[in-house]
């Protein structure tokens, strides 16, 4: 289908029509935290580069979610499965990096075990991407071949060119959604040309860069280099910001919470490899030291995940750098590993 377009000032109206059929989520700022919230009376676009504080995956793979309830009473043991809510959602304003990340973790949640919670939400959600007009100094999507204006994992892609949104449909779901929106004009070729120019311009201006040449073999070679890891992990405080707010991290823990009278529920909740308790076993902790945990995080993204699914689990959204309380910078670490003089 040919790209459509809509004038910038018509967007709130468009979103409003979607609201009749869907739960429409749009980014909203509150106290410096940008969150996807249900669309209110009107949509107010956020200025400049403003990606959500938490990646959009947190709307699919929830911080915590009950999986089943159980009760143990005199009548016997009962168990009731809890399925995710059946709500058709439209998420508007997803940045290409975050959309790409969904594509990456789809691999995992669709793998040998199909994760119904995640997949059902994916199925029920229309993702409308919003191309970046600008970026900040933490962004490095270009290094990971992520376009700042398009992603394969959106249903619709919006890009603002001179006061007009160019709308590109990317999936059948997208097309279906687009068709439901009445009379949108088709974008002109020169507008599409301008979009390409915009893409090139942003790509050029992103200066943060990671060298991923032969990264897997270099990572492997560097694995045993404990002094390297000790050094680079020195200032890490071991909190969970970079993992919890990473668009591709997905580790979780399973907890049974039993309350009074034998009633309870099983929960799935986020867990982070930055924590000492992560995968700790009764007598042994596989990652006893901070440097081992930092190494796990980096290796998981750049070695193990590619090994399993053929794709690096990083999209260069820059959250881990931007939000880190001590400015720990993964790009510096990767580049350090990629340095030709790094002995490994």
């Amino acid at each position: 289908m040919k790209e459509k377009k809509i004038s910038e000032d018509k967007l709130p109206e468009l979103l409003k029509t979607l609201k009749d059929k869907f739960l429409v989520l749009v980014p909203e700022e509150n106290d410096g935290v940008i969150e996807f919230k249900a669309l209110g009376d009107t949509y107010a676009p956020l200025p400049g580069f403003s990606n959500s504080t938490r990646p959009v995956r947190t709307l699919f793979h929830l911080t915590y979610e009950p999986m089943f309830q159980f009760a143990n009473s005199e009548e016997g043991f009962s168990l009731e499965e809890i399925q995710p809510e059946e709500v058709k959602r439209v998420i508007f304003g997803v940045r290409p990096c975050d959309a790409n990340a969904l594509g990456i973790i789809d691999n995992l949640f669709k793998d040998t075990y199909e994760d119904s919670y995640y997949l059902k939400r994916r199925e029920n959600t229309y993702i409308i991407g919003l191309g970046c007009d600008t970026h900040d100094d933490a962004c490095f999507c270009t290094s990971l071949d992520v376009s700042p204006v398009f992603s394969q994992n959106v249903d619709l892609m919006f890009n603002l060119i001179d006061g007009t949104f160019i709308i590109k449909s990317n999936t059948e779901k997208g097309e279906e959604l687009l068709l439901s929106l009445s009379d949108l004009a088709e974008a002109k070729d020169e507008e599409l040309q301008k979009l390409n120019e915009k893409e090139e311009k942003i790509k050029e201006s992103i200066s943060r860069n990671v060298n991923l040449e032969n990264i897997d073999s270099r990572m492997r070679a560097n694995f045993e280099n404990s002094s390297f890891w000790q050094k680079v992990s020195g200032k890490c405080i071991g909190c969970g910001i970079c993992t919890y707010n990473c668009p591709t991290c997905h580790c979780f823990d399973i907890i049974d919470e039993e309350s009074k009278e034998g009633k309870g529920a099983r929960f799935r909740c986020y867990d982070s490899c930055a924590f000492p308790l992560f995968t700790k076993m009764p007598m042994e902790n596989p990652r006893h030291y901070k440097w081992e945990r930092v190494r796990q995080k980096v290796h998981h993204k750049f070695e193990y995940f590619p090994l399993n699914f053929g794709v690096i689990a990083c999209v260069g959204c820059g959250r881990c750098i931007r939000q880190c309380p001590v400015n720990w910078d993964i790009t510096e670490v990767i580049n350090e590993i990629s340095k030709p003089d790094n002995k490994g």
Partner: protein
């Protein structure tokens, strides 16, 4: 100042007085700084001093073996003293390099002040009571107290007390108690139920990343009580109830240790005003027991000591 610090650091390495240097380096993001922990003299010379050295480096001291030279601001020096009181670090292993502090500039306040994003701001310069900010074509001068961190506006100790080397002269940030306390004051005036609802909403945002705890020098346990699972005081499931209980108990645990460095609030990715909790607790500790954290390394920790004259009126 920076040059003097570099000279001192070089001398410490040359005289083999320290094994590690802990200071600040230029960060990888515009205007930000990052902790610098190194055994290498050349690397240590990358150290910087500017109004953005917000990290409280005391939180690294427990981990480092050997003799450590550490750069501290006034608030950080109180953390160091507090750790000394708690037997977590030992004075003979430390060379404390003190920096008189005239307040730290809160980049978020700069951004919202000039309405330009951080990475587009070309320069931020402190000139006495004023701060000049340049961004693209814009240029604006602010009153320093409008851009400093809230915590700095009611600083108890701008000049480190427990220090071996002092870099620079006396210095202190402007005082504006009103501004420093605006959240605390607002909450204090509310009914307790409203206060509870406020915190309830705040902790619905909490993702339990534990950045507040990990960045806090007062949280010196290797195993936190939340990691205890028999009994499970706090469930790992990030429900607001448990998030809130976690912070409540943390507040009790750091009472008498918290030096109002404000790192918990700065680190919080959910922008929960944690500092106002800790600061108010700290003020209460001072009022109740006349105890101010991290002022005298020979003082007994708050909870390990008592006085016959401690408040008793609240008891039935």
């Amino acid at each position: 100042m920076e040059e003097k610090l570099k000279k001192e650091v070089a001398a410490l390495f040359d005289e083999k007085k320290i094994d590690y240097f802990v200071g600040y380096a230029k960060g990888s993001l515009m205007h930000k700084t990052t902790p610098l922990i190194t055994k290498d003299k050349e690397e240590a010379l990358k150290t910087v001093i500017n109004p953005f050295i917000y990290n409280n480096l005391a939180c690294y001291l427990r981990e480092l073996p050997g003799r450590v030279g550490v750069v501290v601001k006034g608030c950080d020096s109180r953390s160091v003293v507090s750790l000394l009181q708690d037997n977590q670090i030992f004075r003979e292993n430390l060379t404390i390099i003190g920096i008189p502090c005239s307040g730290l500039i809160d980049l978020e306040k700069v951004v919202s002040g000039i309405q330009v994003e951080r990475h587009e701001i070309t320069s931020i310069e402190r000139q006495g009571d004023k701060v000049a900010v340049k961004a693209g074509g814009k240029e604006k001068t602010f009153e320093a107290e409008d851009l400093l961190f809230d915590k700095c506006l009611n600083c108890v100790l701008p000049v480190p007390k427990e220090a071996d080397i002092m870099i620079g002269d006396k210095d202190s940030p402007p005082v504006n108690k009103e501004k420093s306390y605006h959240i605390i004051k607002k909450l204090k005036e509310e009914e307790s139920a409203e206060r509870w609802n406020f915190w309830k909403d705040q902790f619905k945002k909490c993702i339990r990343c534990y950045a507040c705890r990990n960045v806090c020098p007062a949280c010196s346990c290797t195993r936190c009580f939340v990691e205890v699972n028999r009994p499970q005081w706090v469930s790992p499931v990030q429900k607001w109830q448990d998030n809130l209980v976690f912070q409540m108990i943390r507040t009790i645990h750091v009472a008498g240790r918290c030096v109002d460095c404000g790192e918990c609030e700065r680190a919080c990715p959910a922008s929960i005003p944690l500092r106002s909790l800790q600061r108010e607790m700290g003020d209460n500790v001072k009022e109740l027991f006349g105890f101010e954290s991290g002022m005298d390394k020979d003082e007994k920790p708050l909870i390990a000591s008592y006085k016959d004259t401690d408040p008793n009126e609240f008891m039935r």
